[in-house]
Amino acid sequence: MNPALLFDVALAALAVVAALSAVAGRDLFASVAFYIVYGILIALAWMRLGAVDVALAEAAIGAGLTGVLLIGAWSQLHRKGATETPPGPSSAARLLAAGASASVAVLVAVIFVGLPADGAGLAPAVRENVAESGVSNPVTAVLLNFRAYDTLMETIVLAVALAAVWSLTRDELWGGIPGLRQHARDGGVLATFGRLLPPLGLLVGVYLVWAGSSMPGGAFQAATVLAAVWLLLVMSGAMDEPAIGSTAIRLTIVAGPALFLAYGTGGAFLGTFLGFPADVAGMLIVAIEYVLTVSIAATLALLVAGVPRRQE
């Protein structure tokens, strides 16, 4: 048997087992752990398919950031003693859900089998037009030019999600600082780590955005790295979370989507909404990507920080 095929089959089997364990397990913490494992396995699967951009995003956001959010949610539930699994739904409801899921699975399988055998999809069209997009990485060309509205919506969804989290703030703490003040022993392991890693993290973040125009990388992947640097600085006591009432932090969060929208509207006056003129598209995309990265990084870091717990 071909060793590469053996690896792929084992990877697919492991991903299915991890997914089942995440969904079917009774222990909430184990489910979270299996969900993270599932994210890592899926990132590996994307690597095997040659989709490095997607693999990076899946590892950083699907496994890393979502994992942090889920563990944070679990520990809050645990502290309140609310991690008991409630009695399951009735067997009729289970049968209904199983039937619906199975129908969707069959439908997807039928559509997949019915796809044209060459399986090229839209790839040739993208490859033909990538020269006009201003960047040479086809994934970035799709995300920020051909299908820019998808990315625009995603960044707006993120900002709305943060607004939803903030809306859970207690009235007297509105505008306050998320989380508790973190202290790390001076010269201790965490304080040292918190000083050693951030410069390197910043460099990697900036590089990932820049690399995104010609090879795998981009705003979301870079923003996750920068958000991790932010969280590390907070955890090691080097920096405190900003107050959510601060105008500067609110402007930082909306700057990316706002700039994106402004360019899109400008494009609408020149011809098409979100259509960039080919000669300046490359420059515009890199500029938008950098501003987006800062906005997304702040949004992700503040999503992890959660609701305000104290006033200044």
Partner: protein, 103 residues
């Protein structure tokens, strides 16, 4: 297969052996600190040997430098996290006896 291929394969196999030993330790050892001890061995030496094995196969110096950075960052993060978990576990002495507690 030439000498470099053999060296690379041998190094990766040694790395895998460390990971298997580390996993066995994680599953079999009785308390947090000895489990951590087993895990950090797997991280440092296992990943070190696998990185070495992969680096031997690389043609470009830049790729080798990147692998080295990946290994160093992992070691740095693993060492820090191991210290933090070990210290956090000190405060919860009763858990040392429990085999499958994850608080």
């Amino acid at each position: 297969m030439n000498v470099a291929d053999w060296l690379s394969a041998l190094s990766i196999l040694v790395g895998v052996a460390f990971f298997i030993a580390g996993t066995a330790g994680l599953l079999r050892f009785p308390d947090v600190h000895s489990r951590l001890h087993a895990l950090t061995k797997a991280d440092n030496l296992g990943l070190g040997f696998i990185s070495l094995g992969v680096a031997i196969r690389m043609a470009e110096p830049w790729s080798i430098a990147k692998i080295l950075v990946v290994w160093m960052l992992t070691v740095l993060a693993a060492a820090t996290v191991a210290q933090l978990i070990a210290r956090a576990a000190l405060g919860t002495a009763p858990e040392e006896a429990g085999a499958d507690d994850h608080r």
